[in-house]
C-alpha cells in the first residue's frame, strides 16, 4: 500500500527565539516546536510568540515520527506532533506518549501509547450531560456511560512538531480516566484545566495493525520477532510450571515410596533407659532414614527427650536424633492454640554393608514416665525437600516468564 503525503505546508513562520524557519502543516495548530532550539512557539493574537521551552524529547517508544504518514481505516493520516506526559500519584510515576495525527478528511486524532495500556486511538467527544470532574464516578457518554477509574495530576515532559493546544515543558493538567461500560473496550480520557473540560474517546489498537497502517515493514518484522520471543517465553513458562507440579507431586510420591528395613517398639524405663535395634543393611548410595515415634500419650505441658544414635559397621558412632517431644496449648490474643510433637526423623547414607546398631535412649528430660517409642529404619529414601525446592524455583521462573509473555501480549492486542 502506498501512502501519499497528505498535508502541504500551510505557512512558514520564523522562530521568535532563534529565527529558524518553522513550517506549519495544520491550519488549526496552536503550538509549533522549533526543531532548532526546541522553543514552543504559539500562534497568539499578535502572531507567533515564544511560549516556553518544549523540553528534551525522549526517543519514541515505537518508530512513529513527526511527518510519517499512515492509512487508518481507509483514511490517510499525517503525524503532526508528539507529546510525552508524566502522571503521578502517592506511590508511583508513569509516562505515556501521544501523537497528534491529522487526517485527509480533516479529523484530528490522538494516538496514545503507554507501556501498561498499549495503543489507543482517541477522538474528541463533546460532553453534553453533567459530570463533576472532582467526584462523579460515572462519565455520561454513550448509552451505558463509563466508569471513572483514576484521577491524577500530570505534566508535559516534552513536545515536538505541532499541536492543536498550547504546550510547553512543565505545563500541568488534571487527568481523569474512565472505562466504557457498554463493552467494545472503549476508554475515555478527560483533561481538566481552569478554562476547559475535554473528553476523548479511545479504541485500542494492536502494534501489528499500527505497523501495517504506517506501512513500516521493518517495524512489522520487529513485532514478529518480539511476538516469537513472547511465545517462546510463554511456552517455557508453561513447561516450568508443569515441571513444578510434577516435582511437587513427585516429592510426595518419592518421599512416601520407601521400604521398611526394620521396626520395633520399646519401653524405656529409668532402670533401662536405652534400647538397641540391630539391622543388616546393604551398601547403598541412596539415603536411609531412622524415625522415632513417641507412642505414649502426652498430657498438656508434658515433654520427653528421646535420643537416637547409630553405630556403623566400622565402629563409627553418630548421634542422629536429639528429639524434644512435647504437647502444649494456651491462648494467644484470645485465640486458643495447641501444638504436639511426637515424631522425629533423620537420614544417613549406609555406604558400607553390615550390621548397624540403632540405640534409642531417654534424654535428660523425662516428663513422661516409662515412655513407649517406635523405632523404624527405612531404606531407599528420597528426600522430597530437594524436589520441592526445585519445584518452587521452577514455579517462580514459570510465573515470571508467563507474566512477561502476557504483558507483551496484552499491551499489543486490540
Amino acid at each position: 500500500m502506498t501512502v501519499q503525503p497528505l498535508q502541504p505546508v500551510v505557512q512558514a513562520i520564523t522562530c521568535p527565539n532563534c529565527s529558524n524557519p518553522i513550517q506549519q502543516k495544520s491550519a488549526t495548530s496552536q503550538t509549533l516546536v522549533c526543531p532548532a532550539c526546541k522553543t514552543a512557539v504559539v500562534m497568539g493574537m499578535e502572531g507567533a510568540e515564544k511560549y516556553g521551552q518544549a523540553g528534551t524529547m525522549p526517543s519514541p517508544p515505537v518508530p512513529i515520527a513527526v511527518g510519517d504518514t499512515a492509512n487508518i481505516n481507509g483514511t490517510n493520516f499525517f503525524v503532526l506532533g508528539r507529546v510525552v506526559y508524566e502522571g503521578w500519584d502517592d506511590e508511583d510515576r508513569w509516562r505515556w506518549t501521544e501523537w497528534q495525527i491529522g487526517g485527509s478528511d480533516g479529523r484530528l486524532l490522538w494516538l496514545s501509547y503507554s507501556k501498561d495500556e498499549g495503543f489507543y486511538l482517541f477522538r474528541k467527544l463533546k460532553l453534553t450531560q453533567p459530570f463533576d470532574p472532582l467526584k462523579d464516578r460515572k462519565l455520561p457518554v454513550g448509552k451505558q456511560g463509563a466508569s471513572v477509574r483514576e484521577r491524577y495530576p500530570a505534566r508535559i515532559i516534552a513536545a515536538e512538531g505541532e499541536l492543536t493546544f498550547r504546550a510547553k515543558e512543565g505545563d500541568r493538567l488534571q487527568m481523569i480516566e474512565a472505562v466504557g461500560l457498554g463493552g467494545g473496550g472503549l476508554r475515555y480520557s478527560i483533561q481538566v484545566t481552569s478554562s476547559e473540560l475535554e473528553v476523548h474517546e479511545g479504541q485500542a489498537w494492536s502494534e501489528a495493525d499500527l505497523a501495517k497502517a504506517f506501512n513500516n515493514s521493518t517495524w512489522t518484522t520487529q513485532i514478529s520477532k518480539l511476538k516469537g520471543g513472547a511465545d517462546l517465553r510463554g511456552t517455557v513458562g508453561i513447561a516450568a510450571i508443569l515441571f513444578a507440579i510434577i516435582a511437587f507431586v513427585g516429592g510426595f510420591v518419592a518421599g512416601g515410596n520407601r521400604r521398611v528395613a526394620a521396626q520395633q517398639d520399646f519401653t524405656l524405663i529409668a532402670q533401662a533407659p536405652t534400647a538397641v535395634m540391630k539391622v543388616n543393611l546393604p551398601a547403598s548410595s541412596r539415603p536411609a532414614s531412622v524415625k522415632v515415634n513417641l507412642l505414649s500419650s502426652l498430657g498438656n505441658g508434658q515433654s520427653a527427650d528421646i535420643d537416637v544414635s547409630i553405630d556403623y559397621p566400622g565402629d563409627l558412632e553418630v548421634q542422629m536424633i536429639e528429639a524434644d517431644f512435647y504437647s502444649e496449648s494456651g491462648y494467644d490474643d484470645g485465640e486458643y492454640w495447641s501444638e504436639t510433637v511426637r515424631e522425629a526423623e533423620a537420614m544417613f547414607i549406609p555406604d558400607e554393608a553390615g550390621e548397624y546398631q540403632f540405640e534409642v535412649a531417654l534424654g535428660a528430660n523425662v516428663g513422661v514416665p516409662n515412655p513407649n517409642v517406635r523405632l523404624a529404619i527405612y531404606r531407599d529414601t528420597i528426600n522430597p525437600i530437594w524436589m520441592w525446592g526445585y519445584a518452587v524455583i521452577a514455579l517462580i521462573i514459570g510465573i515470571i516468564l508467563l507474566i512477561s509473555a502476557a504483558k507483551r501480549s496484552t499491551a499489543k492486542k486490540m
Binding site: P8, V10, Q11, A27, T28, Q30, V42, M43, G44, M45, G102, G103, D105, G106, R107, L108, L109, R123, K124, K126, L127, T128, Q129, P130, F131, D132, P133, L134, T164, F165, R166, V192, T193, S194, S195, E196, L197, E198
Partner: protein, 202 residues
C-alpha cells in the same frame, strides 16, 4: 441577491438574501452593517484572514444530511490559547442561515436561538457546573474570553470588530450549546454534532 458597492474601495458587494445583516469586502476588509434595501454602514476594517487551506471556503457548497448549503462567510475568533473559525452557511431551501463550526475535524451545526429568560452572568459560570438557559440545562465544558480576529463574506448577525467578549460552551441533552456574552447582547447557539458521513462538500 442584491449588489452593493464598498464605500471604501468601490468593489462590488453581494448580499445573498434577506437574512444578511453584515458584509465584509473581500478586497479591503471593510465591514458594513446593512441598513434597509441599499444602505451600508461602515463599522470598521477587520484583519484579513490568512489563506489557510480548509475543506470549506466562502462560495463553495455542500450538503448536511442531504440538505444543500452554500458558504456565505467565515469569521475567526481568537483567544489566549489559539483560535477557532465559524462558517456562515445559507440553505438552498431559503431557510435562515446557520453556522458551522469545526473542532478537531468534527463539525457542529449551530442554530441561533432567541434568549427567552434570564441568563447567568458570565462571572457566575464555572467549568463543570450547570446553568439553565431557555429550556436547556447546560453543562459547562469551556469558559474563555475571545475577540474577533478577522472575517470574510456575509453574515446574518452583526459582531463587533474590536474588544473582547466572554463565551461559554457546553452541552445539554445531546446538543452543543454556545453562549457569547457580547457587550450589548447575549447570543445563544444550539448545535448538533455531525457524524463525518453526514456532511459532504462539493
Amino acid at each position: 441577491m442584491r449588489q452593493m458597492t464598498c464605500a471604501s474601495c468601490g468593489a462590488s458587494l453581494e448580499v445573498e438574501n434577506q437574512f444578511i445583516r453584515a458584509v465584509t469586502c473581500k478586497f479591503c476588509n471593510s465591514s458594513y452593517t446593512i441598513q434597509g434595501d441599499t444602505g451600508l454602514n461602515l463599522t470598521g476594517k477587520g484583519n484579513s484572514l490568512a489563506n489557510y487551506p480548509s475543506r470549506l471556503s466562502v462560495g463553495m457548497g455542500g450538503a448536511i444530511r442531504g440538505r444543500s448549503f452554500t458558504v456565505l462567510g467565515r469569521i475567526r475568533y481568537v483567544y489566549d490559547a489559539g483560535f477557532w473559525e465559524e462558517w456562515q452557511i445559507a440553505w438552498t431551501d431559503q431557510a435562515p442561515p446557520d453556522w458551522l463550526e469545526e473542532d478537531e475535524g468534527y463539525w457542529t451545526l449551530y442554530k441561533r436561538e432567541r434568549v427567552k429568560g434570564a441568563v447567568p452572568a458570565y462571572d457566575q459560570v464555572r467549568i463543570g457546573g450547570s446553568v439553565a438557559i431557555n429550556q436547556h440545562n447546560v453543562f459547562i465544558t469551556e469558559k474563555r474570553t475571545a475577540k474577533v480576529g478577522g472575517s470574510e463574506g456575509q453574515f446574518s448577525s452583526v459582531f463587533p470588530l474590536n474588544g473582547t467578549f466572554g463565551y461559554i460552551q457546553g452541552g445539554a441533552n445531546n446538543k452543543s450549546v454556545s453562549i457569547n456574552y457580547w457587550e450589548d447582547e447575549i447570543e445563544l447557539s444550539v448545535g448538533d454534532e455531525l457524524e463525518p458521513s453526514e456532511i459532504t462538500f462539493n
